[in-house]
Symmetry: C2
Subunit: 199 residues, 2 copies
DNA sequence: CCTACCGATCGGTAGG
DNA sequence: CCTACCGATCGGTAGG
């Protein structure tokens, strides 16, 4: 029962993240699971209700798993060493890139961003504002610690994290480019610290 | 006749760029123009044929209008003054952002990038590779002219143009943010030149 | 450009 | 969870 309900949610997100909500039919969802379309309505009262519950799941998962909203920079001990910082950030990128739930949610938000106002706002929050705020605080801390030079922290954060969001989107679209992209990311981070490092 | 055919192409791109190809129906296209669905088939043999012709138009328009593939850097006189460079780039961004054809094409490619292999490749080419190559050559030239310091030109170009592509996407999604975004872009470009300027 | 129609599929319901 | 069904709409065709 609960198993089937979860299967419906998972399969629906799979399909929504590739084809979009409208272009995914209830039959397609049902067939993918191996049940009849009518049976979906034992678990959800409508197609919209499936999407609503997926959105709830995304919000919940995000609040639980995302560093971007959960980090208390006062308690985090930031490594002083640039190599260590690069390593930490690479790990974060690998997680965001491959966590099956996060990556599918991200793709769905990209697809639905122009026709669903709720998902549009969510896309801006999760994949722009929260990320930018996180890295702005991170860079402010590095400036305070005299690791980076004192410039506009928001602009520095933009230059740091926005190229990475483009590369993540590129990997979502063409996963075969991942190695090439990770190399670019690595070079980019090193270059960033080289140019903004104090002294 | 030809007028109606062009109307069909325009209206279809309008709708495809918001809802996507699959989720846009032939009736919706016809009703938006004010004709009957069956009449569409006097101009196009199928819904797919409309998309194919739109893709051809995008390719043609892009080849004709895009700086990113048409610039011969040997003949372009790059302004030495950073303020002049900032101004030129802002003009380019304004054009890309508001040209009705380019902006709709860009939105459609974003929406269709995960389920249509042709549009997926086109998205990577037009909105990543060509842009990055263009700015890599631009920065190489500025390095040659002793305006910028000598670092990896591709990485510098990434740091320069990829944040801007994110901001353009943000404006596509939330046009009311345009002023705020243009301010960020301006600060970003100035910061970039401040940090990479020679001497 | 239209009316009238096709079979297939859409989201959803009844009833078991 | 199923079969059987609903009206509406899908992409597309015939014929004028």
């Amino acid at each position: 029962m609960k198993n089937t309900k979860q299967k419906i949610l998972n399969v629906s997100l799979d399909l929504f993240s590739i084809y979009g909500f409208e272009a995914t039919s209830m039959s397609k969802i049902a067939n993918t699971i191996g049940i009849r379309k009518a049976s979906l309505y034992s678990h959800f009262e409508s197609k919209q209700a499936i999407l609503n519950e997926i959105i709830d799941e995304i919000l919940e998962y995000y609040d639980k798993k995302s560093n971007f909203v959960n980090t208390d920079w006062n308690t985090v001990d930031v490594p002083e060493n640039v190599d260590e910082i690069v390593k930490k950030i690479q790990e974060q990128i690998q997680f965001i890139l491959h966590d099956p739930y996060i990556s599918k949610a991200r793709k769905m938000l990209v697809i639905e961003q122009f026709n669903n106002p709720i998902l549009s706002k969510l896309q801006t929050k999760q994949n722009y504002i929260d990320v930018l705020n996180y890295f702005t605080e991170f860079i402010q801390l590095l400036i305070q610690k005299d690791i980076l030079i004192e410039e506009d922290a928001t602009i520095m954060a933009s230059q740091f994290c926005l190229p990475i969001t483009v590369w993540i989107n590129l990997c979502d679209r063409e996963p075969e480019r991942e190695n090439e992209v990770m190399e670019q990311i690595c070079k980019h981070i090193e270059q960033f610290f080289k140019v903004y490092k104090k002294g």
